[in-house]
């Protein structure tokens, strides 16, 4: 266990905020706050040349995510964020995530937070698959290669 980097209070509070955002989007707009879906739907419209109008609230959700660091900076310096891999690995990671969330129809938010919150067995299966793969990928990268 890594006790020096363990941030139980901030992470739990952050999780509660994420839950509140999910609740607001669901009860307010009737939509599931799955980021993969929030991204994929307008992307399909852009590529297919169809109207973006039905995706307006998703685009604004996306804008909210993009502006969150700026809102944070109004009150406090942003916490450090770093990667430990190069551009080729980032490209591979992005491709795998993009294909994977479309194929499985959800990600950490859609299946993880929303799916588990409504006790969906389908989401649990997906979450177990991506968690296992994530553990294996980091194990291989950090301890085998």
């Amino acid at each position: 266990m890594n006790w020096t980097d363990f941030t139980p209070v901030a992470s739990l509070a952050g999780g509660l905020l994420i839950g509140l955002a999910t609740a607001l989007y669901l009860l307010g707009s009737g939509r599931v706050a799955g980021i993969a879906g929030v991204l994929a739907s307008p992307l399909r419209a852009v590529v297919g040349g169809t109207s973006l109008r039905p995706d307006a609230s998703r685009l604004l959700f996306m804008l909210g995510l993009l502006l969150a660091p700026w809102a944070w900076r109004l009150f406090a310096p942003l916490p450090l964020a770093q990667v430990d891999v190069g551009i080729p690995a980032l490209l591979l990671a992005g491709l795998l995530v993009g294909v994977g969330v479309r194929m499985g129809n959800g990600c950490t938010s859609g299946h993880g937070i929303c799916g588990l919150s409504r006790f969906s067995l389908r989401s649990l299966v997906n979450v177990l698959a991506f968690m296992t793969a994530g553990f294996v990928a980091v194990f291989v990268l950090r301890h085998l290669l």
Binding site: S29, W70, L95, F135
Partner: protein, 137 residues
């Protein structure tokens, strides 16, 4: 109303990700590194999110309409198949390699992080690749 709620939810979601530590790929990898110096913080992010989510979905299930008047669109797909598992495995592998999943990647992109821009571009390409050529027709 839906537009405002979309923006407010996204902003709140993003602030939650930053506070939780999810916007830092190294923090995410610390959670996924069971065999190394494991940092369990992100399990608490899930716990916090689900604690609120359970209540929200329980309330939402009894309501035909959202506050804005939009229909309540709760997924009812129960299919468990190879695509669900395979998609999860591909996504998890990419998550472990880069330390980014879609939401935090957008937040990191918004903060001006170059690595996030590279990741997001590839992720969007992956989504298109799937929808164009790999989707079930």
């Amino acid at each position: 109303m839906d537009k405002f709620l979309g923006f407010a939810s996204g902003l709140l979601f993003g602030l939650g990700l930053i506070l939780a530590g999810m916007a830092d790929p190294m923090k995410v990898k610390g959670f996924l590194d069971l065999a190394g110096s494991w940092d369990p913080s992100l399990a608490l992010v899930m716990a916090g999110g689900i604690a609120v989510g359970v209540v929200a979905f329980a309330v939402a299930k009894r309501r035909p309409l959202a506050w804005s008047g939009s229909p309540m669109e709760i997924p009812n797909n129960r299919t468990i198949d190879a695509r669900l598992v395979g998609g999860g495995l591909l996504f998890g592998t990419g998550w472990g390699i880069g330390g980014f999943c879609p939401g935090p990647a957008l937040v990191a992109l918004g903060s001006g992080m170059g690595a996030a821009a590279v990741f997001v571009a590839a992720m969007l390409a992956g989504m298109l690749l799937h929808d164009r050529w790999l989707a079930k027709r």
